[in-house]
Amino acid sequence: MDKKRLVELLRPYLMILPAMVGIFTFVVYPIMYLGYLSLYDYNLMNKAKSKFIGLDNFIEIFSRGDFYKSLTNTALYTAGVVLVTLLISLVIAVWLSKNSKFNAFVQAGIFMPHIVSIVSIALVWLWMMEPSLGFLNYLLKAVGMQPLQWLQSSKTALMSIIIVSVWQGIGYYVLIIVAALQSISPSIYEAAALDNANKFKVFYKITLPMISPQLFFILVIMTIGSFKVFDTVKVMTSGGPNNATNTLVYYIYEHRTTNIGYASATGMVLLVIIALLTFVYFRLLSKRVHYQ
């Protein structure tokens, strides 16, 4: 009898055990280990020479100029990518929200970059942005505008990377917004027409609130994703010129061999920043998001 009760008691824990093993191995343990490393002056060659140094790594992070430089770059990059992508996706989605063959074709076209590897995309754009022979400057010259240095000037490099990321991401977000727009019942728009609402009012009083859950989701996902940008930077600029495109993750990557403890500490800082940002979003915006 007692044995039966014990089985009853343990059954739920047994059921979730496989999932928990996975989560512990691949999520909890790496984060703990990251935290552990961040407290050491870690020696990769000889583990015995590693030294516990407490919060010294963190103190160093916050006293170094190059960290602030990459933090600012990451923040600018994130703000640029999130705002521009949201805005353009919204405009394109509204344009494509009517179900027609032409729209489906355009939508498929816009989605294409999303299924191509970012490394290939970055390489192609690298050539297109080449200052003397690249396609973009050819276009600028053709319409009589001043050619740009693109990735080779610290003034335009970050902007160039933002352009590539936006171009790659739009299709996916357009898809989400189009689906959201199409799920709005047409009779609501008819009711609004009978209520004598103009187009502008219909958009910001009905359409926007109706798709707010999806927009909020995109905002959070894209902010987190942009803060972790790495591959575009690695392929296109390697953080240059003059650290103009050095972002947090690339900064961590740069220190991976020279000082793994310091890199881990930066990783912990990144984790906290993203967590804080997400928390702030939920606090500020959750009241404005309408869930059905």
Binding site: S187, A191, D195, N196, Q292
Partner: protein, 350 residues
């Protein structure tokens, strides 16, 4: 208040003509019900009046003014949708005042209107709630309040009760009749339910396949159906229809017009048959009686017979209707009518 005129209107969707050259006048201040089977074009007609799906050709006049080029919001009409079409992101108050805001009504006037209308429909305590927290009946009232608050000259309703449960539907039916009496505006109401049409309408417009079958008051529609379709659409169970022996002409009588007896009686129409089914509804009993090839539905106020019993059906002369070869009803004063009566009498004796 306004009358509505539809002049030679045609509506085509993707090369398919739903309504062809239709003329209809809806009187000012009347409760008009457009009724018919699904796909008959009644909703199309309503949306045409609202301006949501403008007619392909012809013209719509509201109060004598051609509104063909007037957008829906400026026609002075309000509509209640089948699925209510309440703005889910807005509170009940915002829902009701959205139209007023768009029409530039001042804030103080808006508050006054919203509060008086919401107490009329019993929503005053719910003004700051979101629609998702309301019941089906309450949402229906929000939709009604939203329409009423604009003080429209025409109320359009597209099957507004079809999403409610049976009991609430009966209650709302009475409330709508009272509302019409109180407001005195033109109501145009679309339904596929002939009971709703009969109970609420001043005038019923019965449609089938994009054409008007009959346009009359409920009692006329019931007593003098203009053709076989009308006779069978209006009334539960529908009118019994049979063919005269030699061909095209059909006769008919209402289920409650027949008498049942266990021995033959003398009447113009008589038939002997067996009871196949019996539906006991409380105040009345409906029998299905099979007589040869023909089946008749008979409604009795008494519950005297059982299934499989043999009974005699008798219908008196004044309760019989005849429909010509084109399925149109023959007037009871016409010579054709008398002629067919004799034919039917012969058929029953023979």
């Amino acid at each position: 208040m306004a009358s509505i005129e539809l002049l030679h209107v045609t509506k085509t969707f993707d090369k398919q003509t739903v309504i062809k050259d239709l003329n209809l006048t809806i009187e000012d201040g009347k409760f008009t019900v457009l009724v018919g089977p699904s796909g008959c074009g009644k909703t199309t007609l309503l949306r045409m009046i609202a301006g949501l799906d403008p007619q392909s050709s012809g013209s719509v006049l509201i109060n004598g003014k051609d509104v063909t080029k007037t957008p829906p919001g400026k026609r002075g009409v309000a509509m209640v949708f089948q699925n209510y079409a309440i703005y889910p992101t807005m509170s009940v108050r915002e829902n009701i005042e959205f139209g007023l805001k768009n029409n530039g009504v001042s804030r103080t006037e808006r508050i006054e209107l919203v509060e008086s209308i919401s107490s009329t429909v019993g929503l005053f305590d719910y003004l700051d709630r979101k629609p998702s927290t309301l019941s089906g009946g309450q949402r229906q009232r929000v939709a009604l309040a939203r329409a009423m608050v604009k003080k429209p000259s025409v109320f359009l309703m597209d099957e507004p009760l079809s999403n409610l449960d049976a009991k609430l539907r009966v209650q709302m039916r009475i409330e709508l009749i009272e509302l019409h009496k109180k407001l005195g505006t033109t109501f145009v109401y679309v339904t596929h339910d002939q009971v709703e049409a009969m109970s609420m309408a001043d005038t019923i417009v019965l449609m089938n396949k994009g054409e008007i079958q009959q346009e009359a008051a409920p009692e006329i529609m019931y007593r003098k159906p203009s053709n076989v379709f009308t006779a069978q659409f209006i009334g539960v169970p529908p009118m019994n229809i049979g063919r005269l022996q030699e061909g095209e002409v059909q006769y008919g009588f209402r289920p409650e017009s027949a008498q049942l007896s266990s021995s033959p009686r003398d009447a113009l129409f008589t038939a002997k048959g067996t009871i196949v089914t019996r539906e006991m509804l409380g105040s009345e009993t409906i029998y299905q009686i099979k007589s040869g090839e023909q089946a008749f539905m008979i409604k009795c106020t008494e519950d005297l017979y059982k299934v499989d019993e043999e009974v005699y059906i008798s219908v008196s002369e004044d309760k019989l209707h005849f429909f010509g070869p084109d399925e149109v009803r023959l007037d009871e004063k016409s010579s054709d009518h008398t002629h067919h009566l004799e034919q039917l009498r012969g058929m029953c004796r023979g």
